[in-house]
């Protein structure tokens, strides 16, 4: 593993964003066990190109996200690949907590009263980060909820599994194109915890090793080989 370029932690219930360059590796760390990290992805060259959960799931025949999967844009390109994952199951279907959900589950708070312990929600967090780049509510899409496992039973019912959370779980994302990353650390909307969960997220940035022919994401499905080819064409034409 190459040297860390930058490492930081985001407290619970906060939001942040950055543009990551092609070839950067982002490691997310569940520092204490039980963090949820909401994430949305955009192409900085054309913000209309955004993370598409349905395309990601159907082209890899999966409901969960884990090692070997690629996160696709709606334009058939790969924003990033999951090159390693010790958690095993990440949700990308359940969306965000909202102001109403947080108030219903964990009570109302205000900045005036609670200062930085106010209980922020995922939806409004994305609105704030998106607006920094001229994006709005219409530009939001189904997000990833890193470190949150929601399984489905035979009847289609959603089952949030708190037992999947482990302190020290890591997921490593290799960015396959320049990508605007919006993220928050607000609780998963189905988290049954009695109190607003306060779990921090660690994150680290490194230079990723080159993609080799035996790469796990390139080879996990024939669809991904075609996705990587779409990225190659994109970069060939853009002069990256």
């Amino acid at each position: 593993m190459s040297d860390i370029i930058y490492a930081d932690a985001l407290p619970s219930g906060k939001h942040w964003s950055f543009v990551l360059r092609k070839g950067i590796e982002l490691t997310l760390v569940d520092l204490e066990g039980g963090v949820n990290c909401g994430m949305l992805l955009y192409n900085p060259l054309s913000m209309l190109e955004r993370y598409n959960a349905p395309d990601t799931l159907k082209c890899q025949h999966t409901f969960k996200l884990t090692t070997g999967h690629c996160l696709y844009s709606d334009m058939g390109r790969i924003f990033c690949s999951i090159v390693d994952d010790t958690a095993g199951w990440h949700d990308t279907v359940c969306g965000n907590s909202t102001k109403a959900i947080v108030a219903r589950k964990w009570g109302e708070t205000s900045y005036q009263t609670h200062r930085n312990d106010w209980q922020q929600n995922g939806h409004d967090s994305f609105l704030v980060e998106a607006a920094k780049y001229g994006l709005g509510r219409r530009d939001l899409a189904a997000n990833v909820n890193w470190f949150s496992k929601v399984a489905i039973d035979d009847g289609g019912r959603m089952i949030f599994d708190p037992s999947a959370a482990r302190a020290g779980s890591r997921v490593v994302l290799r960015f396959e194109m320049d990508t605007l990353v919006l993220l928050h650390t607000c609780p998963h909307p189905l988290n049954p915890a009695a109190a607003y969960p306060r779990k921090p997220l660690g994150y680290e940035l490194r230079q990723a090793p080159a993609v080799m022919p035996d790469d796990i994401c390139l080879n996990s499905a024939p669809e991904n080989a075609r996705g990587f080819e779409n990225n190659r064409l994109f970069h060939a034409c853009c002069g990256h």
Partner: protein, 221 residues
């Protein structure tokens, strides 16, 4: 799976239109009206989006709909929610049993990934969505608003270990889904032209849109 028949007779409908595969439908259904979509020949996919007619920035949200009902399938009784978690429509009848909203719409670009790079010029649902909103600018919709849709009549089971399968259809000729509008909605349907997916036996077929009461939908094409 839950089957619920409708008491409404098509002869009493205020609007009927057959939509061939590869075409789109766009129109307004007013609050309190009922819209039925009929799978005329079976195992078709009707890729459908909804917008608030009064504020089209508010759109159908697959994530909010599934999470709030706690189930990944759409069936009779499902309340279709917007991205503001407001009820848009309620499924009042369904003779299929369940419908997908995880698989999204086919697009020329995703077809390159799913099937082959040289499939990129084959007709796809997203092209129909984009043509529909381009030819009907009065709705104020753009590519930003092409959210994750419902695939009426499609069967996409999730397995307990986290897999997603595109199974044989559970629909058949004449089966339908019916919804009551809980607000004034713009209905946007792409009748799927997909030729590469066995879910429709490689044979896309027409659907019918039927509306009871309310105003006659505005025609897009």
């Amino acid at each position: 799976m839950q089957i619920k028949e409708s008491a409404l007779a098509p002869v009493t409908a205020s609007f009927r239109k057959i939509v061939p595969a590869g075409d789109y439908f766009i129109g307004v259904v007013t609050k309190g009206s009922t819209i039925r979509i009929v799978d005329l020949e079976g195992n078709q996919a009707a890729d459908t989006l909804f917008y608030s007619a009064d504020d089209p920035s508010e759109h159908y949200s697959a994530m909010d709909t599934l999470r709030e009902q706690g189930n990944v399938y759409i069936t009779a009784g499902t309340q279709l929610l917007s991205d503001l978690c407001r009820p848009m429509l309620t499924v009042t009848a369904d003779t299929v049993g369940r419908h997908d909203t995880l698989g999204g719409a086919c697009a020329t670009e995703s077809n390159t990934v799913r099937y082959a790079l040289d499939k990129k010029s084959m007709h796809a649902c997203r092209d129909s969505f984009l043509l529909a909103i381009a030819e009907n600018e009065r709705f104020g919709l753009s590519k930003r608003d092409i959210a994750h849709n419902i695939n009426f009549f499609m069967n996409v089971p999730v397995t307990p270990d986290g897999g997603l399968t595109f199974a044989d259809g559970v629909s058949s000729p004449g089966k339908y889904v019916e919804m009551r509008a809980d607000m004034n909605v713009v209905v946007l349907i792409s009748n799927c032209p997909q030729l590469n997916n066995p879910c429709n036996a490689y044979n896309p077929t027409p659907i019918e849109v039927i509306v009871w009461n309310g105003s006659t939908p505005m025609e897009g094409a």
